[in-house]
């Protein structure tokens, strides 16, 4: 709590390129979502409600845009003058992208949202004073604010329903911001267990709730610095680099035949979620 301590931390304040000196060791949690496999079934979203104590806000509040789904399934269709979505819709699971240079982190006046060394964008509910600056500055708009005191709101968690609440996750009261945490309670539990055994978390040892429920396995999640992990292999195969704001493969002439991309990458927030483009058959 001294100024020296403050200055110490300050001296090491964010580098221009956040991951230049490869600080993510031994963990960097990241995700890859295959939109070709995603069928938009909402299983992940419900799993998230169950795991993370998300309140069901009800019809009226939903209408006012006060819904709390950390994971939302977006459904796109570009008309281009067609009558029917004859190549289907495009579904997109959208959650906090856990940006490496997260726009939300720098603006929080109290430091309630920070970067952790394992590459997560943390949100500390009890520190949050509810200025909502983070949400204002989030390009993906994946932060959700507790507009009401849901724990005491009628029919959010009526008697018995509250027994379902996950004790590992704080139930948020009014006035705090929240967002997808990559199921940090599961990550921390796995990390602590691994630490106790003097090793690092193995591939497959920890899953996020959405990943675990996804019927088509569209979501893969793991440690990006672990060469054994599926996520690492996917990112590598798709030639998507965490620390680039424009991928080299896209600058090649004739484009790329790979389908990995990150949303709004050009904003230089270095998201930790890679999406794989939905594929559509050209023969029909």
């Amino acid at each position: 709590m001294s100024v020296t301590n403050l200055l110490d931390n300050w001296a090491a304040v964010r580098h221009f390129h956040p991951i230049d000196d490869k600080p993510h060791d031994p963990y960097k949690w990241a995700m890859a979502i295959d939109l070709d496999a995603c069928i938009g079934c909402n299983a992940c979203a419900v799993a998230c409600y169950a795991e993370n104590n998300l309140p069901v806000v009800g019809r009226e509040k939903f209408k006012h845009g006060q819904v709390m789904h950390w994971m939302r399934i977006e459904r796109y269709w570009e008309e281009d003058g067609r009558d029917f979505p004859d190549q289907g819709f495009q579904f997109l699971p959208m959650m906090c992208q856990q940006c490496e240079a997260a726009p939300c982190e720098t603006v929080c006046p109290v430091g309630a949202t920070n970067h952790t060394q394992d590459g997560l964008n943390s949100q500390i509910y009890n520190r949050c004073i509810g200025s909502r600056y983070c949400s204002a500055n989030c390009p993906f708009k994946v932060r959700y604010f507790n507009w009401y005191d849901y724990p005491t709101t009628e029919n959010v968690w009526p008697a018995e329903m509250n027994y379902q609440l996950n004790p590992d996750v704080t139930v948020r009261g009014k006035g705090v911001m929240e967002k997808c945490t990559f199921c940090v309670q599961r990550l921390r539990a796995a990390e602590v267990t691994a630490k106790g055994e003097g090793r690092i978390v193995r591939e497959g040892e920890v899953q996020t709730a959405c990943q675990q429920s996804c019927p088509t396995g569209a979501i893969s999640f793991g440690n990006l610095v672990d060469p054994e992990s599926r996520v690492h292999k996917q990112w590598q195969a798709q030639q998507v680099d965490l620390d680039k704001d424009a991928q080299e493969k896209n600058q090649k002439e004739g484009g790329t035949d790979l389908r990995g991309y990150r949303i709004l990458e050009e904003l230089r927030s270095y998201p930790s979620v890679m999406y794989l483009e939905r594929v559509r058959e050209s023969a029909v």
């Binding site: 069928i39 069901v56 979505p85 579904f91 027994y163 790979l258």
Partner: protein, 741 residues
């Protein structure tokens, strides 16, 4: 918030054999439950309730996991429940089950909200005028016994949903003991016509579909990713199918009048005129140009021009599909809800099955199912015709006593059945129910059931993925309400009233189940292990896998009866087709009172908490309707009013209203939200099977002049990405999938 007081309440329950799940306090783990508001440290104020006795594996703050079976739908997914301090917190899929391989859909996850639902019935209720009076179980049983006295067997009817396993056995024995054969198995939404067509064509009701082996899947309205048969299993097959056989990505073509979740994932989605699925199938056979004999004779009139005119599918698309099907083999053609919901549903399904046969898929992507070695446990599958029969019987005053096992026909019967009135004609109606739903409210005696997380049971799924499997259902936690009972326990008590001698060895359903399983230990693969070990292993696995005989399909190609009617002329008074949509969230509406389900946006429209009338933008433009207009949808039977949602994935002549909302009872999350399309459904039946033809209702649309804001997740930008690269799409010729991990 949960405080130590509520823990103490829980602690008040008496000990019983399930004490391994005993909630006796959380030894300080209660800390995690409260919000951010409390920053105070109140040493010495809070109580820590410790266990009196604790099993070794019970560690406060560390979860234990038990396997069981999901009962939200009848696909039979195995689940693993996460239990902390005696409370079930979350359900995951059980990785050992070949059906769902560790995955679970949203509906399955919401089962915990069924269990903890504040609107569950908690006491046996006896009708006193308009009110229910709480009575004891002893009294309830005695009352049933009393009412059954002197009633002949044929005057007793029992209505249930899909039933399998030991519960089916016990149910059968009970009906038997009453001398009644009137067990009606009813599901409001079931592929009964397809089953009948399959039986005729393949010799089995439900073959094994191998989407994962197919290179092309052509589906006629089968929503296998959302609601059809075993969606979680098919979704996994689908994932493999997209990854491809030999690196060639599977192609999905969906033909239907209203887009389903599966249609939304298709490479090519075809809007077909309602009811013309069979014509399209024959048109494709014609375009394939490979058939000879009877088949060639049958399809010779179905040239492209005619088919295109009849179905609304462009001729070029028919060509492309035929070319693709010819090029890539094996393929798989599926007939689903949209094809079967017509008077000629069976003909549609037959034409589609014929296409499969022409393509040579039978035996390749359509395999014979494994047969269940215990036929008495094999599932009885519900049919809508069963409800028709029951309703006719009730109307004729044939039944004096009616048992209803957790089905809700008052909600799901078309209004023209007048089921509510007919039900009143039965003298004594017993409802075994979780909620006071529309049907339970009509009953004279309501008996509260345990949730699937409190009850014992066995289930045999109809659609078996790999081997035969008997799914074990076991309590994941202590009974939440002291006065609910498992259906098995109730049946046992009831059957004891009749055949006390036979069942006297069993104290309860658990005992019955245990001994029934142990009796067949050898057949269940437990030869050699002692009873306790086998039983404990069975419980801990949650599944008993058996190798069942898998025969060949007995293919019968008989096209003689195959005759498809021309598309209906447009009716001036009722110009639109009503398509009652089965959505993956709501199904037949029995889960509507689970708030996660209500708030989980419909995948296609993103609407929550309400019903909507889906209408094509072109048609809406013609009628001068915009999104949010409240329109009145009128059929011959009646009318409902709901908000309009403009949706491009629907044939312009059709409108669609989702099934499942519009409850006027059931509970706080269901009651008063939306409308029920069954209220305007015409009672038209499939000609061959007598199933309700759900897609045959014709309606007209009138504006009421009111307008509301549609409550949905989608914003005003709709599905447009405004030039940003958000959900990107690429066609197969631009991407090299072989490089992928």
């Amino acid at each position: 918030m949960i405080d130590s007081d509520s823990v103490k309440n829980l602690a008040g329950h008496p000990f019983d054999r399930r004490d391994f799940l005993k909630v006796l306090g959380w030894g300080g783990a209660a800390a995690a439950l409260s919000g951010c508001g409390n920053t105070s440290i109140e040493d010495g104020k809070e109580t820590v309730v410790s266990y009196v006795e604790a099993k070794d594996y019970v560690i406060p703050g560390v979860a234990v996991y038990f396997n069981s079976t999901c009962a939200q739908c009848d696909a039979g997914c195995s689940i693993t429940g996460k239990i902390r301090e005696g409370r079930v917190l979350k359900l995951e899929g059980n990785p050992e089950s070949p059906i769902n391989k560790g995955k679970l859909c949203g509906l399955g996850q919401a089962a915990v909200q069924h269990h903890y639902n504040p609107d569950r019935v908690r006491e046996p209720l006896l009708r006193k005028g308009d009110k229910g009076e709480a009575i004891s179980w002893e009294k309830a049983y005695a009352l049933i016994n009393e009412k059954l006295a002197g009633v002949k067997g044929e005057e007793i009817a029992l209505l249930s949903g899909d039933v399998s396993g030991h519960q089916k056995v016990l149910l059968g024995n009970y009906m038997d003991s009453l001398g009644s054969k009137n067990h009606f198995v009813y599901e409001a939404v079931s592929p009964a016509v397809v089953r009948a067509a399959n039986l005729k064509f393949y010799g089995v009701e439900m073959p094994r579909y191998r989407i994962d082996k197919a290179k092309v899947v052509l589906s006629f309205g089968a929503d296998f990713l959302g609601t059809w048969v075993s969606p979680v299993h098919f979704a996994q097959q689908y994932a493999a199918f997209r990854k491809g056989v030999d690196g060639q990505r599977g192609v999905l073509i969906q033909a239907e009048s209203k887009m389903t979740l599966t249609g939304a994932n298709a490479d090519r989605w075809l809007a077909v005129r309602p009811g013309t699925e069979g014509i399209l199938a024959l048109g494709i056979i014609n375009a394939l140009g490979v058939s000879t004999g009877d088949v060639a004779e049958l399809v010779k009139d179905y040239d492209k021009a005619r088919v295109s005119r009849d179905t609304g599918v462009e001729p070029s698309n028919i060509d492309k599909i035929a070319a693709l099907l010819k090029l890539r083999s094996p393929s798989l053609v599926l007939a689903g809800g949209a094809a079967e919901g017509y008077v000629h549903g069976m003909q549609n399904a037959a034409a589609i099955n014929l296409l499969n046969q022409v393509l040579g898929n039978v035996g390749k992507t359509i395999e014979a199912p494994v047969s269940v070695p215990f036929p008495q446990m094999a599932p009885s599958k519900g049919r809508t015709a069963a409800l028709k029969d029951l309703n006719d019987g009730l109307a004729a005053g044939k039944y004096k006593v009616l048992f209803n096992v957790a089905t809700n026909p008052v909600f799901t019967a078309p209004a023209s059945y007048k089921f509510r009135d007919n039900m009143a004609k039965a003298g004594f109606k017993v409802a075994f129910a979780h909620y006071l739903d529309e049907t339970a409210l009509q009953a004279d005696l309501v008996l509260p059931l345990d949730s699937e997380m409190e009850d014992w049971g066995t289930h045999v799924p109809e659609y078996l993925a790999d081997t035969v499997q008997i799914n074990i259902q076991q309590p994941l936690m202590e009974r939440l309400h002291a006065n609910t009972r498992g259906m098995g326990d109730i049946l046992l008590a009831l059957v004891k009233q009749r055949r006390a001698e036979e069942y006297k060895a069993f104290d309860d359903y658990y005992g019955y189940l245990r001994s029934a399983v142990l009796q067949n230990k050898a057949a269940l693969g437990g030869a050699g292990s002692d009873d306790d070990t086998f039983w404990n292993d069975t419980l801990s696995n949650g599944i008993v896998k058996l190798s069942g005989a898998s025969g060949a399909l007995s293919l019968k190609v008989d096209v003689s009866g195959l005759k498809l009617p021309a598309p209906k002329e447009i009716d001036e008074q009722y110009p639109m087709n009503l398509i009652p949509a089965v959505t993956s969230n709501l199904r037949d509406g029995r889960h509507t009172n689970q708030p996660w389900i209500q708030e989980s946006p419909d995948p296609l429209t993103t609407i929550v908490w309400d019903s909507w009338v889906e209408m094509h933008p072109k048609m809406a433009l013609q009628l001068g309707i915009v999104e949010g207009d409240i329109v009145k949808v009128t059929s011959k039977t009646g009318s409902v009013s709901a908000q309009v949602y403009l949706f491009p994935g629907i044939y312009p002549d059709a409108v669609s209203i989702p099934i499942g909302r519009g409850h006027d009872a059931m509970g706080r999350y269901a009651k008063g939200y939306g409308v029920n399309p069954f209220e305007i459904m015409d009672a038209v039946f499939e000609s061959a099977t007598g199933e309700l033809a759900m897609h045959e209702t014709r309606v007209n649309i009138t504006k009421t002049g009111q307008r509301v804001i549609v409550v949905k997740d989608e914003g005003p930008a709709g599905g447009r990405q405004m030039g940003r690269k958000i959900a990107a799409r690429v066609s197969t010729d631009q991407v090299d999938l072989s490089k992928e991990v």
